[in-house]
């Protein structure tokens, strides 16, 4: 491998740039017109424009990506997550063009993207799957019969689906037909495939996934679990490793199953096998995420393995230089995803200039960041800004550290979910490890529930008054840096410019 083209943006592109640099591997990034000043371009060895702001014309434009790879002389492509990462047609195109796609083969990608086919594959390997249909129903009668057989409540799912799209919970037969029609309609428009099927609904499950690494020589290991049950609208927002619900025995059992699942798909490179974990300890295969995941850092923190580096080594044809017995989980790691979303206004995405940015620091704190102070958050892409990850000796210490780090972090100028995350970490149910997938619904629906303290209000009023006061040489203020009350913000035009 001579040079890697990183086809992504934001924090993950920065993450991959750094991995390449650590390895002495030349790399280049692509950027759209909206991202000329984005951090991944600033951090890159080389950057090449790929198209206009809309993702379809830039980060999702396969022809433009291939052309960019040729131009910069890259012989490998790292797709990050999202965008083209799990697009088997893109992987196939790379294979055809003689470019190394840093991920699984297009065949494996195609298999894991098809939920029904992967369920069949898992069943053949004795990987437990959620009881349900193995194909779409030929008519409503078949759906009705299957649902009655497995017992309500059931879940209607799109075979090509993901991210909760086209998913419907049905609690009684009367609602089944409407759910199937709705799901199939959404699936047709979102995924171009209207195939839907029914699964038994597991109530109050946890979402527990296993990281796997598989080289091209037949070696496959797992790097233990991540629990990602804290989800809002089916998007994970807080993740951790180890899971508070998995003990040593269950971990070994699930880990073995994950390795078997990956092998059954002919999977290579880094991937994640997702399971639903029921309250009674039984677990079911959900799907394979065929990419580096957003939450990969929690695994890196507890195992000490650099997963992006491993991805590059595996794609270069190297053998894994460790076996399962070499791997262990040390301490506890938690990740919070920092989104530009306003928890006070129905989590609407927030764009605009980052007026002030303070990163948390200290032992056991890692911040995978795609932003900087003064940067204008574009409206065109996913609102993820950064990920805050902490590592400590045990879960309680990690929680305390995360709480501290969230309080130490400040982003002003745009709305973020920082306060909301701090309240999740502080929640008693979270502290007790009761992190089922209904956590947000159950414990956060009345947010913000805690009234702000009078002391904090007074501090805010004092700060507001002082920020408007002056000009002054008081308080050690240096005239050069703060000549006037107008300059309370770097780069902001007072009274405008937003």
């Amino acid at each position: 491998m001579k040079k890697i083209l990183i086809v992504n943006r934001g924090e993950i592109a920065v993450r991959v740039v750094r991995a390449c640099r650590d390895m002495g591997m030349p790399s280049a990034v692509v950027y759209s017109d909206a991202d000329r000043a984005s951090l991944h371009v600033l951090e890159a060895d080389e950057a090449i424009r790929i198209g206009p702001a809309p993702a379809l014309e830039s980060y999702l434009n396969i022809d433009a990506v291939i052309e960019a790879a040729r131009k910069v002389g890259a012989d490998a492509i790292h797709p990050g997550y999202g965008f083209l990462a799990e697009n088997w047609r893109f992987a196939k195109r790379c294979e055809d063009e003689g470019l190394t796609f840093i991920g699984p083969t297009s065949d494996a990608l195609q298999l894991v993207a098809d939920k029904i086919r992967s369920r069949e594959t898992m069943l053949a390997q004795d990987v437990p799957i959620i009881p349900g249909m193995m194909s779409s129903g030929k008519d409503m009668d078949e759906y009705r019969a299957k649902a009655a057989e497995m017992g309500y409540p059931v879940l209607v799912k799109a075979s090509a689906g993901g991210g909760g799209k086209g998913m419907h919970v049905v609690r009684e037969e009367g609602a089944l037909e409407a759910a199937i029609e709705a799901s199939s309609r959404v699936a047709a428009s979102a995924f171009g495939d209207d195939t839907v099927y029914i699964e038994k609904l597991i109530e109050r499950p946890r979402h527990v996934e296993f990281q796997v690494l598989a080289d091209t020589h037949g070696n496959c290991v797992h790097l233990f679990e991540r629990e990602c049950s804290i989800q809002r609208r089916h998007q994970k927002i807080v993740e951790e490793s180890p899971s508070p619900a998995v003990d040593h025995e269950l971990r070994a059992q699930m880990g073995d199953t994950a390795v078997r699942a990956a092998k059954a798909c002919g999977y290579t490179n880094a991937g994640t096998v997702e399971f639903l974990l029921d309250e009674d300890g039984s677990f079911y295969f959900l799907e394979v995420n065929a990419r580096i995941q957003v939450e990969h850092p929690v695994t890196e923190m507890v195992t000490g393995v650099d997963l992006v580096r491993q991805q590059i080594l595996i794609a270069s044809g190297e053998k894994l230089d460790f076996i399962q017995a070499d791997l262990s989980q040390t301490g506890h790691a938690i990740e919070c995803r920092i989104y530009a979303e306003d928890p006070r206004s129905s989590f609407l995405p927030s764009s605009g200039k980052i007026a002030l940015f303070r990163e948390p620091q200290g032992p056991g704190v890692r911040h995978d960041c795609g932003i900087y102070e003064g940067w204008e958050v574009p409206v065109h892409y996913d609102p993820i800004l950064s990920k805050l990850i902490v590592h400590a000796e045990d879960r309680d210490a990690a929680r305390a550290r995360m709480k501290r780090a969230l309080k130490d972090m400040s982003i002003l100028g745009i709305a973020t979910c920082l306060e909301y995350l701090a309240d999740i970490i502080d929640n008693e149910a979270y502290a007790a490890g009761e992190t089922q997938t209904d956590f947000i619904e159950k414990h956060m629906s009345d947010w913000p529930s805690v009234a702000t303290s009078e002391e904090a209000e007074h501090l805010a009023l004092i700060a507001a008054a002082l920020s408007l006061s002056g000009p002054s040489s008081a308080g050690g203020v240096v005239e050069e840096s703060a000549p006037s009350p107008w300059d309370t913000l770097g780069g902001w035009r007072v009274g405008g410019g937003r």
Binding site: K407, G413, T452, A460, I462, A465, G475, G476, W486
Partner: protein, 167 residues
């Protein structure tokens, strides 16, 4: 200086003489002894009874967002003491008098006498230390008098433009 702020829907009266590093801030009649230091743009260190609080502050039209150790407060900035240098431009008050926010140079005058303006209309751009500040109207009305032109230097609180507020 006196301020009338809005916080969580309530009016709060805050006054301070911030010229000294140790000052008294009065909130609705209660006094706080504050030792303060502006660390850099947007970052203020407060010591209250020896307790250290580093707060982060960002200003936008008519409001100030304050991050107090992870908790965000949006403070509405109402009308303030007329002698305040900032009264004219924060978008929330100051009547029809557009004053220079700081010593600097007028880069651009965006209005002429007789122009109709509304709240938020850009009136003058003043530049200082390579930073441009767009001063906007805090009222709806008609431009009565323009006292400055591009290239003029102005001093703090110098009246640049006068606006006759509409009814």
């Amino acid at each position: 200086m006196e301020f009338e702020f809005t916080l969580n829907g309530e009016k709060r009266r805050v006054s301070t003489d911030a010229r000294r590093p140790s000052t008294t801030v009065t909130i609705d009649g209660s006094d706080y002894d504050v030792d303060w230091s502006r660390i850099r743009d947007g970052v203020i260190s407060l010591l209250l009874d020896g307790r250290s609080h580093t707060v982060h502050v960002a200003r936008a039209d008519g409001e100030i967002t304050v991050d107090v150790e992870g908790q965000h407060f949006v403070v509405g900035t109402g009308s303030r003491d007329d002698d305040s240098a900032v009264a004219a431009g924060a978008g929330g008050g100051g009547g029809g008098t557009i004053k220079a926010p700081m010593p600097g140079n007028v880069v651009k005058v965006m209005v002429e006498e007789g122009d109709e303006v509304t709240v938020g209309t850009s009136i003058v751009v003043v530049e200082a230390m390579k930073m441009e500040n767009e001063v906007r109207s805090g009222v709806d009305g008609t431009v009565k008098k323009v006292n400055v032109a591009a290239g003029d230097s102005v001093g703090t609180s110098e009246v640049m433009v006068e606006i006759e507020p509409a009814e």
